[in-house]
């Protein structure tokens, strides 16, 4: 499957599972093996409720698996403290959400500065790098707008800038076009493709094949398990 198998994997998942405890335990993810290499552009496809977000949250260190091992650059994430997980999110990962998740009363610039704030970067350096990130996604003219005054497409660009600003090893985008019109969606995918061309490693979640085709490779997920394209076609009917 992998095209860049020569180098060490950036992410390495072995038998990763996630069970949501409750009155009735729900299996969100089951026995996932996955290698992601630097420079990859991976699309994760699957129907609603199949476990795409569960996988992404684990990849992004926002949640921990209940079984299996997960390594980032050889570091076993499953054993890390909450502190170390926070540092991992801060340095290695840039997250892009379907619902943007910007701070509404902050300007675009301050939203983009946020990861740098927690990285301990000084005020001026922060503003400079945030502006640079905004420029790289072509939205620096909106830097002083409050994020809740921006359109969906603009918000998502700001979110990408925020994900990029601390130069992470990995960009995670969970249905980033889900709340965008098709034109904004295309624009966004062009930005991601361009970032990947520049060397960024990207994992993208979508249930839209047209969107997934932007990626270099596609994995399919059903009921929390990775399946072959054949099985996927079969089960999706």
């Amino acid at each position: 499957m992998g095209s860049a198998a020569a180098s060490e994997p950036l992410l390495l998942l072995r038998g990763v599972g996630k069970v949501y405890e409750g009155e009735q335990p729900i299996v969100g993810l089951e026995a996932v093996d996955l290698d992601i290499f630097p420079g990859d552009f991976l699309a994760v496809m699957g129907p609603s409720g199949s476990g795409k977000s569960t996988l992404m949250n684990i990849l992004g260190c926002l949640d921990v698996p209940t079984s299996g091992t997960y390594e980032i650059k050889g570091v076993p994430v499953t054993t890390l403290s909450p502190e170390a997980l926070a540092a991992m999110r801060n340095r290695e990962i840039g997250f892009i959400f379907q619902v943007f998740h910007l701070l509404p009363r902050y300007t675009a610039l301050r939203n983009v500065e946020l990861p740098l704030l927690y990285a301990g970067v000084g005020r001026e350096e922060r503003a400079r790098r945030a502006l640079e990130a905004l420029r790289s996604v072509g939205i620096e003219d909106r830097k002083n707008h409050l994020s809740n005054q921006l359109s969906g497409g603009q918000k998502q660009k700001v979110a990408i800038a925020r994900a990029l600003v601390n130069r992470p090893s990995l960009l995670l985008a969970d249905e980033p076009t889900g709340n965008l019109d098709s034109k904004s969606g295309e624009e966004l995918m062009a930005i991601l493709a361009q970032l990947n061309a520049g060397g960024a490693t990207i994992v993208l979640v979508t249930h839209d094949l047209a969107i997934a085709r932007n990626a270099r490779r596609i994995v399919h997920i059903i009921d929390g398990r990775l399946v072959t394209p054949e099985e996927y076609r079969e089960r999706r009917g």
């Binding site: 949640d63 926070a86 701070l103 009363r105």
Partner: protein, 401 residues
């Protein structure tokens, strides 16, 4: 992330909810102002009393007839078995090597008349010693002299108030007044002393002690004042006076010696306690203000769950979130503390201006203490909401609408 940055974040958050922040602060403002006002009132009262006692002499022992069992209180009149006499005073003076002066006092109320004007005043029969012992002196003329006492002369010294009431602005020295019908020559006018504990020290007439005994037809003294020469000898002086009188009274302890300094210091202790109690009661309102802060912080954390999720997603550690909300509650209470300190101090000033009779004195320590306390209230009541915020799971926080 350094604390200054957190501080900016806290200020921003508080500014987006101005009215709410102001109302929450109001609780602290009222608390701090109340602490300062009530403590100032307590302190003012103490200073007032202290002023009233000032110049009374701290190293004075007061011997009164009658024995009381409980220490420190006033003697019970009915308990008198034997009187204090001039002989007692003489013994104390002769053998009291620690004493600077011994002043026997006879007390009575008499009508003092000058021409058509008359006045009922407290009349003290005294010896020359009274003036140095009590530290009050004549302004013009002379105080009672030894020969006045020995010769039972009918001379008197008028307090300022008596002089003004009887003579107005006219010269009184050398004039004749009638005290209980007897003619007395005015030998001196006392200096102004003012009001002490509601008692007008200037509304007094002094006459020689033996003369007073004749006028009031008694040989019993009201009290004997003793000044102890050295402040450190107060206790041994008291013991000396006790043993001298004990022997002179046929081995009966039918008198009471009170140490004025001890009495005053216990009074001041009471007033200090009063101050603390008042401050403590006010501090309760500050605690209530703290509960208001906790309440609003819990609401804030709930409302900003999504924000907390976002911050955690981009790398905020639990302690960053904790510090952020802790700084928010502390900023709230500290700002309230500053306003409250201002309000309390200005309020005390206003009371002093508008109602000068109420003694208020703002002690700087009360301002510092109230402010510091308010800061701690913000920290204390902010910890629980801040910990709640810090403990949120990033995914659940992000999903919260």
């Amino acid at each position: 992330m350094n604390p200054v940055e957190f501080f900016g974040v806290a200020i921003d958050a508080l500014r987006t909810n101005r009215l709410r922040s102001a109302l929450t602060m109001l609780g602290v403002i009222i608390g701090v102002a109340a602490v300062i006002l009530l403590v100032s009132l307590g302190q003012g009262t103490k200073n007032y009393v202290e002023e009233q006692f000032a110049g009374l002499g701290a190293n004075i022992l007061i011997v009164t007839p009658g024995k009381i069992e409980t220490r420190g209180g006033p003697p019970v009149i009915g308990a008198t078995r034997h009187k204090l006499t001039l002989d007692d005073a003489r013994i104390l003076e002769k053998k009291g090597y620690l004493f600077g002066g011994v002043a026997p006092v006879v007390f009575g109320t008499a009508e003092v008349r000058s021409g058509s004007r008359s006045r009922n005043v407290s009349t003290l029969g005294v010896t020359p010693e009274f003036s140095p012992v009590r530290n009050i002196h004549v302004e013009v003329g002379n105080f009672v002299t030894d020969s006045d006492v020995d010769a039972k002369r009918r001379v008197c010294i008028l307090g300022r108030t008596v002089k003004r009431e009887l003579f107005g602005n006219a010269n009184a020295l050398g004039q004749v007044v009638k005290i209980s019908g007897a003619r007395f020559r005015v030998m001196g006018i006392m200096e102004r002393k003012g009001v002490s504990l509601g008692f007008d020290i200037d509304d007094i007439v002094f006459i020689p002690v033996r003369t007073a005994m004749d006028i009031f037809d008694t040989d019993a003294l009201f009290e004997i004042l003793i000044s102890v020469r050295n402040k450190n000898d107060i206790d041994s002086g008291k013991e000396l006076a006790r043993s001298l009188l004990f022997k002179n009274h046929n081995r009966h302890e039918d008198f009471t010696i009170t140490n004025q300094a001890a009495m005053l210091s216990s009074l001041f202790t009471i007033l200090d306690t009063l101050t603390y109690v008042l401050g403590g009661i006010a501090a309760i309102s500050l605690l209530v203000g703290g509960i208001g802060i906790m309440n609003i912080m819990l609401v804030t954390v709930k409302e900003r769950t999504n924000e907390i999720g976002i911050r955690k997603a981009v790398g905020a550690r639990n302690r960053d979130i904790l510090l952020q909300f802790l700084l928010e509650s502390t900023t709230l209470s500290a700002a309230g503390g500053v306003c409250g300190a201002l309000a309390g101090t200005l309020g005390a000033g206003a009371i002093r201006l508008l109602v000068p009779k109420i003694p208020v004195e703002v002690p700087p320590w009360a301002v510092v203490l109230a402010f510091t306390f308010s800061v701690f209230v913000g920290i204390f009541f902010g910890v629980y909401p801040a910990r709640k915020a810090a403990a949120l799971h990033p995914i659940e926080a992000l999903r919260y609408e």
